[in-house]
């Protein structure tokens, strides 16, 4: 029987380490269990010399272990030293595989069978997870590794990389890039295409293959790995090739399954082992980004099991360390400890009336606001850190029509009025306590559609777009509430001011949210179905058959609705609508729609007259039917090309008309000169079709992929719809990996250059444009301050009067920035012809 500890802490990242140090300082009997043979594996695996950042700076560090911004090596050395100094009891090489038992007596078992007993458990295993292992037999002496630190390390070897995602491709290319190393590199992919990798990586891999620098094997799997040899299953049968080293990059399994299985009961379901509902550690929703349900003391749904750190939804090192300290204090019986972010929240709430404490306000928010109803107090705290609170006097404008802003508001106290008619502010529609407004901002950085005024004194919470999206992903209740409200408002907007929410309620009830794949047809031309659709996310393209050809009519971004014409005038579908990219649409059944029109004859009449303008495009197409020739083909193909290159999810994209571009690179130079000396666009790179070039530059996606995994939430959407990265970026590179268009670069901001005059007159400095790497390096060394590498991308020249510098600096008019819905409209053909 192993010795029983008061607390077992799993994972020695910043969270676990800080917890263990606190336990040691308090004299609690403890064990810190780490699967690696060193502390803090996530940080250990950062790139050598990486500058670790200590954000947010307003948060104080509360831990027995020091942490300050600095080089990775320095941070790790400090932690190793202080762990020893505190006499922390660490068990290395111990990967916990199961946890059973109950509060007061847990049994933790490692993979190799070692056991630990503890009264409480703190889970701090981060979100990195475990790499997926090769499933074929591995013979004695064979080398299989799941990480590649330095591709320059290996020479004269036969290396097989398994898995052709981005990580595998980058590793294979790294190993093969220097012919001096004389490695024979083979990359093995199970399927025929490279669906999970970035297009740029695939293209580069294919280029290297064409040059004979590495071997790509598709539709191939490994069936056995032995010393010096690997057996591959290919389409043409079994093949054996020499192999000294296998690098397996087949993704990693998130730790969620392990966490859910903690103290869970299992049952047999459809032949598989499944967790009995209501047992184990529960998560807030099935969504990928959801976190475990936690109490304010970090206790999970299994009493005695606590979850902290990145796994609890706090990915910054400082947060992690504070939580490690706090959780041990709680376990030690300290009930008065306020979380370290308390002063930040207190300062935020100070502007609200009534002099209430932070806890009071949190309780009020949680009770009053519909979308917060099933949000845990801990999650609410985190949400508040990313949000603003406001108090408005009666009559005060909260935001005005056409204001910029992409945040969402929730009314904690009071009510507001929406001025639905811009010409007559006296007509208002009320929104009451507990409800939300400004939710359209979640779709994209669109301007506000109407002015909103406080109808009485109001306390409101303003959630940033990122915070709101995270809330929707992790709280199914909030998601349902927002969906319902936004459908209702969309309908009211469609019909103008003539209707009330009661009128549209039946239609809202019957609305259905649907997911559509890229290319999936939603409406087929000639059909007589009568449903109406709203694009909630993604975008659609409208096409029409003309003379046997599919002609591209127009592009519908999120927020558009379509299909209403057939309902109103009863005619068959006049064109097809299909998804440009993976999208989410709302289907409103046609009969409900018709019932609504039937009961409102005036409404129907107005709808008919409103439609006149929408018919214009169709009329134009019909009138030109016979004269349509190559211009239309060209237009349709160009549109398709642009959609294939990500314009389908763009809100604003830089295009270069190569019939006008003289290659002066003034666009790049201007970009660099107006942005810290680094260019955010690569003019030459990128695809071209019919002289229309899509350079490597941010498309300001409707739903930016880059935002997905940013620990400090540094990527946000600005007032003009631009997606930008703020100064809290910690340089982890997640966004660079997540952007499918390869537009983010990681670089250090160089010191300022000598001025233009000095260059013109005395030739000082490197001149206009991005300075060469050598100059930047030298200048940075001369300056002597360390400049960390951070993520850098186009910000659409936000804050620069006059707008995008790249466009303004183009002498010939070749560089243009366009919104897809304007650029991809057949109406433009008139001017093209």
């Amino acid at each position: 029987m192993p010795e029983a500890f008061q607390v077992a802490i799993i994972g020695s990242g910043p969270a676990g380490l800080s917890a263990a140090a606190r336990a040691a300082a308090l004299g609690m009997s403890h064990v810190l269990i780490e699967k690696a043979d060193h502390l803090s594996d996530t940080i250990f695996k950062y790139q050598k010399g990486k500058h670790v950042m200590a954000t947010p700076s307003s948060l104080v560090l509360r831990s027995d272990i020091d942490f300050d911004a600095g080089k990775r090596e320095f941070v790790l050395d400090t932690w190793n030293e202080q762990t020893d100094g505190h006499k922390v009891n660490v068990a290395y090489n111990a990967e916990i595989a199961s946890i059973t038992g109950e509060k007061g007596d847990f049994l933790l078992k490692t993979k190799s069978g070692t056991e630990f007993r503890a009264a409480s458990v703190v889970v701090a295993i981060g979100t990195q997870g475990n790499p997926n292992l090769v499933r074929c037999p591995v013979g004695e002496g064979a080398v299989v590794q799941y990480q590649l630190d330095d591709p320059g390390e290996y020479i004269d070897e036969h290396i097989v990389v398994i898995g052709a995602g981005d990580a595998g491709i980058e590793n294979a290319m790294g190993l093969a890039s220097d012919p001096q190393q004389r490695n024979t590199v083979t990359i093995v992919n199970r399927s025929a295409d490279f669906a999970t990798a970035k297009a740029a990586n695939v293209a580069a891999l294919r280029a290297m293959e064409a040059e004979g620098r590495l071997i790509v094997r598709i539709e191939t799997t490994a069936s056995a790995i032995d010393k010096g040899e690997i057996t591959l299953d290919t389409r043409d049968g079994e093949v054996k090739i020499p192999c000294d080293r296998v690098i397996a990059r087949m993704g990693s399994a998130p730790p969620r399954a392990f966490v859910e299985g903690i103290c869970a009961k299992f049952e047999e379901k459809d032949g598989k082992k499944a967790i009995v509902a209501g047992t184990g550690v529960q998560f807030t929703s099935p969504d990928r980004v959801a976190y475990p349900k936690l109490s304010p003391t970090f206790e999970s749904t299994v009493p005695g099991v606590h979850v902290i750190g990145a796994l609890a939804g706090y990915p910054l090192i400082k947060h992690c360390m504070n939580q490690g300290y706090d959780v041990i204090e709680f376990l030690n019986g300290n009930r008065d400890l306020k979380p370290a972010d308390e002063p930040i929240l207190a300062a935020k709430f100070a502007r609200l009336p009534g002099n209430r404490s932070v806890d009071d306000w949190l309780a009020i928010f949680g009770q009053n606001i519909l979308i917060f109803q099933d949000v845990s107090p801990l999650q609410l705290r985190e949400l508040m850190l990313d949000s603003q609170v406001h108090a408005f006097a009666a009559g005060e404008v909260i935001f005005a029509r056409n204001d910029t802003g992409s945040s969402m508001f929730a009314i904690a106290q009071g009510s507001v009025g929406v001025e639905v008619n811009p010409d007559d502010p006296s007509i208002t529609v009320p929104i009451g306590q507990g409800s939300i407004f400004g939710e359209v901002g979640l779709i994209s950085g669109r301007r506000r559609g109407a002015t909103i005024r406080a109808a009485e004194p109001v306390v409101a919470i303003e959630l940033s777009r990122t915070a709101a999206l995270k809330l929707l992903a992790t709280s199914p209740g909030a998601s349902r509430a927002v969906t319902r409200i936004s459908i209702e408002r969309q309908l009211l907007q469609m019909f103008g001011s003539g209707l009330t929410s009661q009128d549209v309620a039946p239609l809202v009830d019957s609305a259905e949210v649907m997911q559509v794949r890229a290319g999936e047809v939603v409406i087929a031309e000639g059909g007589d179905d009568k449903d109406v659709f709203i694009v909630r996310r993604g975008s659609m393209i409208v096409e029409k058959q003309i003379g046997g050809r599919q002609v591209f009519l127009s592009y519908l971004p999120a927020g558009s609705y379509f299909g209403e014409m057939a309902v109103i005038d009863g005619a068959p579908r006049s064109a097809s609508v299909k998804a440009a990219i993976k999208s989410e649409i709302i289907r409103l059944p046609g009969d409900g729609f018709m019932a609504l029109l039937a009961s409102n004859p005036k409404l129907r009449e107005r709808a008919l007259s409103d439609m006149a303008s929408r018919r214009e495009v169709n009329a134009f197409v019909e009138s030109r039917k016979n004269s349509f020739g190559s211009a239309v083909d060209m237009y349709s193909e160009t549109a398709q090309f642009l959609v294939d290159n990500g314009i389908g999810e763009a809100t604003d994209v830089l295009l270069i008309d190569e019939k006008l571009c003289v290659g002066c690179d003034n666009c790049e130079k201007a970009c660099a000169d107006s942005h810290d000396g680094l260019s955010r666009l690569d003019r030459e790179a990128g695809r071209t079709w019919a002289h229309l070039h899509v350079p490597t530059s941010c498309r300001h996606c409707e739903h930016p992929h880059c935002m997905a995994d940013c620990p400090p939430d540094a990527i946000r959407r600005g007032p003009d719809g631009e997606v930008f990265i703020d100064e809290t970026c910690i340089g982890c590179g997640n966004c660079q990996r997540n952007c499918p268009y390869g537009v983010i670069r990681m670089d250090a901001r160089p010191p300022a250059k000598p001025s233009l005059i000095q260059w013109l007159l005395f030739g000082r400095g490197p001149g206009p444009g991005e300075a060469p790497y050598a100059w930047r390096k030298k200048a940075a060394e001369a300056e002597g301050v360390e400049r960390p590498k951070v993520a850098i991308k186009c910000d659409m020249c936000a804050g620069i009067e006059g707008g995008p510098a790249c466009v303004r600096a183009c002498p010939t008019g070749a560089a243009i920035r366009v919104a897809p819905e304007k650029f991809l409209s057949i109406a433009r053909l008139e001017s093209v012809e």
């Binding site: 040059e211 004979g212 620098r213 029509r401 056409n402 669109r446 559609g449 907007q493 409208v542 009519l553 519908l556 927020g559 558009s560 609705y561 379509f562 299909g563 209403e564 064109a575 609508v577 929408r614 495009v617 169709n618 604003d652 190569e658 019939k659 006008l660 571009c661 003289v662 290659g663 003034n666 130079k669 201007a670 107006s674 030459e684 990128g686 695809r687 071209t688 002289h691 070039h693 233009l756 013109l760 206009p768 009067e801 006059g802 707008g803 995008p804 466009v807 303004r808 600096a809 183009c810 002498p811 010939t812 008019g813 070749a814 560089a815 243009i816 920035r817 366009v818 919104a819 304007k822």
Partner: protein, 293 residues
């Protein structure tokens, strides 16, 4: 069929303010109209105003034209600064270039009328001649700006310059390998091709795209398709030949790229120095006029 979200695109459009049109037709050729009007009034003035004793730079009308011309030239020269100075504000280089081209052309009329057709061998005529040189080179510039970009794009075929160079390096590595089994004479040819500085040949070669001493070509000639060995067209010679042809094609693309870029830039080597000389000549012209008044 469908409706776009309300009030969404217009404000973006206002901020972008980038209509898809070239500098020559910018804003319905606003600056062509301005320049045309300027020329027309200069002509009218020249023929309607009775200049005493005869039309020249010294009459009050001549002074007017001279002042306008000088102002224009100074402003036109400032394009070089504007282009390199990325400052905030609602200006666009396209608008500047548009105005530059058309107002620059109007100088032919204004400057020449200013002389009153009194040309001779002096600093005044030198200034006029330099101005004409700048203008003529500018005309060439506009011509290549209109004609060549399409070719540049077609030749590039989505590859960047760096990629072209990398592709060449890759072919070279394979060539080096493939040439090992060749005979002495033939491998010397390949080595000569590999060692040659492919971009050498000077400005003339770059502008014309002709590289008469190209060692790759010579190597190809030295390894002719030999009908007697046709049976063996997978042998080392054939491999080298294929690679040499690939190298030749790759070189061709790079050289066409360089040639087009050179043609697009070469005129600036006249336009800018001549502008500087013009400014100096104008300075001499103006001081001498006032000095000898």
């Amino acid at each position: 069929m469908a409706s776009l979200p309300e009030n969404d695109t217009d404000f973006h459009a206002a901020r972008r303010a980038s209509d898809h049109e070239s500098f020559l037709v910018h804003r319905r050729m606003r600056w062509a109209k301005v320049a045309g009007a300027l020329c027309l009034s200069a002509f009218l003035g020249y023929f309607l105003i009775d200049q005493q004793p005869r039309p020249n730079g010294g009459s009050w009308y001549g002074y007017t034209l001279g002042t306008i011309g000088l102002g224009l030239i100074v402003w036109l020269s400032l394009l070089g600064v504007r282009k390199r100075n990325m400052s905030e504000g609602r200006w666009s280089l396209k608008a500047w270039t548009s105005a530059h081209v058309y107002l620059g052309l109007s100088l032919i009329v204004i400057g020449t009328l200013h002389t009153g057709f009194q040309l001779g061998w002096n600093v005044h005529t030198l200034a006029w001649a330099l101005m004409m040189l700048v203008i003529v080179s500018g005309l060439y510039g506009v011509a290549v700006y209109v004609l060549l970009p399409g070719q540049l794009s077609a030749n590039r075929k989505e590859t960047t310059r760096a990629q072209m160079i990398a592709a060449l390096a890759a072919i070279d590595r394979q060539l080096k390998h493939a040439a090992q089994p060749l005979g002495r004479e033939q491998s010397d040819l390949v080595i000569a091709a590999l060692e040659q500085d492919v971009f050498g040949g000077g400005a003339w070669a770059r502008l014309t795209g002709r590289y008469p001493n190209c060692a790759t070509r010579r190597a190809l000639c030295g390894l002719p398709d030999d009908f007697r060995t046709m049976a063996d067209n997978t042998g080392p010679e054939e491999r080298v030949r294929v690679l040499l042809r690939r190298r030749d094609a790759q070189l061709g693309q790079i050289r066409r790229h360089l040639r087009l870029k050179a043609l697009l830039e070469v005129w600036l080597f006249v336009h800018i120095p001549a502008t500087i000389a013009l400014l100096a000549a104008l300075f001499a012209h103006v001081t001498s006029v006032f000095y000898y008044w």
